[in-house]
């Protein structure tokens, strides 16, 4: 790992204290810990939290906490002429976001999440109306509980922030993760559950238009399992859509 000399560096390695606990000693046959397989964690969503941004949103699903800010549309710098606008997504982890401390530098993980969120959003934004402009989306992961959950919640937060910023959208994007654990299908896996699973899948869609914007699958999965995940996710996305709609309407009426 490279050292950033402009910062006060902590100890090179740090370890979380280890407590005697009933740490996950799951067997594959065991039932899920505190919710049923097709339950998702409760969502708290608040648009317009960051006052200096054009639009923003904060999302919290149990231990996953993400703040998202949208700036722009602003004039593209140093780019060639383009009829279409550009969507720029940047993801940052706070140093204390994970179990192990993260160095305050961008790495491959940030970028792969950024690409996934970009992919989920890009077809919902009417970029053809914003020639020569850039929309900047900054996603700050304050606390992370599983990468798949971060991608899903990050996409929902970013789409809410875009709507809050008054940027023309074809529809609101919602997103849901699913994992295959043993032979069962668990929705919205936590980090522990994702580690236990064979494969995970994140599906993003626009429920209002019944259009899927992106499917992001990792690990190993049978075709039937993948299709089952997608169906289950799509159903949950419709539920998440009503949460997003309510949050946006409440903030619009103030």
């Amino acid at each position: 790992m490279a050292l950033d000399r402009r910062r006060i560096n902590g100890p090179e390695e740090s370890f979380p204290p280890v407590f005697d606990s009933d740490a996950l000693q799951w067997k594959l046959e065991d039932a899920r810990k505190d919710r049923s397989p097709d339950d998702i964690r409760p969502i708290f969503l608040q648009p317009g939290l960051i006052s200096q941004a054009n639009g923003s949103a904060y999302i919290e699903t149990a231990k996953t906490k993400i703040a998202c800010a949208v700036y722009g549309p602003r004039q593209s710098k140093n780019t060639t002429y383009s009829e279409m606008g550009r969507l720029n997504v940047e993801v940052k982890f706070t140093p204390f976001s994970c179990v192990r401390r993260r160095a305050p530098m961008r790495d491959a993980e940030d970028r792969s999440i950024a690409v996934a969120i970009h992919q989920a959003l890009v077809s919902s934004v009417r970029l053809e109306l914003l020639p020569k402009s850039t929309i900047d989306i900054f996603v700050t992961i304050i606390e992370s509980d599983g990468l798949d959950g971060c991608v899903a919640s990050g996409s929902v937060a970013a789409s809410t922030a875009l709507a809050d910023a008054g940027i023309e959208l074809l529809g609101l994007v919602t997103s849901c993760a699913a994992s295959v654990v043993g032979k069962k299908l668990w929705l919205d896996p936590t980090e522990e559950e994702a580690r236990l699973s064979k494969g995970t899948l994140v599906l993003s869609c626009m429920p209002a238009l019944k259009k899927i914007t992106s499917v992001w699958q990792t690990g190993e999965m049978k075709v039937a399992e993948a299709l089952g995940c997608m169906d289950a996710c799509q159903e949950k996305c419709t539920e998440i859509h009503s949460v997003v709609a309510q949050a946006l309407l409440e903030s619009a009426k103030i």
Binding site: G72, R74, Q75, T79, Y81, L209, L248, A252
Partner: protein
């Protein structure tokens, strides 16, 4: 029609709206807001800043002058001020029209928007004389300095 719509939601239309009766597909909202219907125009108003488009009326200040063109930093688009530090760059070329600061637009090249003052009511809103005082417009093409009384040539705007 007083209810809010969300992006992706069909806009509820009054029955006298022409295409509502003609069995056309629905109009889908792309913004959060209250749709308003005024004659043939259906709109969701917003006061958020947006980039200039063709036929936008803009307000900006000249940042660089050369004999052939003036560069300006656009700070207001269609009456909506842009946030500080997010100004757009515009260029007024000498070809086709008279003198300085401009208020209207065409999509330009990669770096800037082409702006023109060719319409009658467009032109200079605010100018400073050689003596450093704010000048007062006296006709559509001249302004007077209140201190020295000298006339300077400017193509003046006529804001509403």
């Amino acid at each position: 029609m007083t209810s809010y719509v969300l992006p992706g939601q069909p806009i509820p239309l009054a029955s006298q709206w022409p295409s509502a009766s003609a069995g056309r597909r629905a109009y889908i909202a792309s913004l959060v807001g209250i749709p308003q219907q005024e004659g043939p125009v259906l709109s969701i108003s917003r006061v958020r800043p947006r980039p200039p488009a063709i036929n936008s009326v803009v307000l900006g200040s000249v940042t660089r002058l050369s004999p052939l063109q003036a560069t300006l930093s656009i700070s207001v688009v269609d009456g909506v001020p842009l946030p500080a530090g997010e100004e757009f760059t515009g260029v007024i070329r000498i070809a086709g029209h008279r003198v300085k600061i401009g208020d209207s637009i065409s999509l330009g090249d990669a770096r800037s928007y082409f702006v023109t003052t060719a319409r009658n009511d467009l032109g200079v809103v605010f100018a400073v004389s050689e003596a450093g005082k704010t000048m007062v417009p006296v006709s559509w093409q001249s302004m007077r300095c209140p201190e020295t009384g000298r006339l300077e040539k400017r193509k003046c705007a006529k804001p509403e």
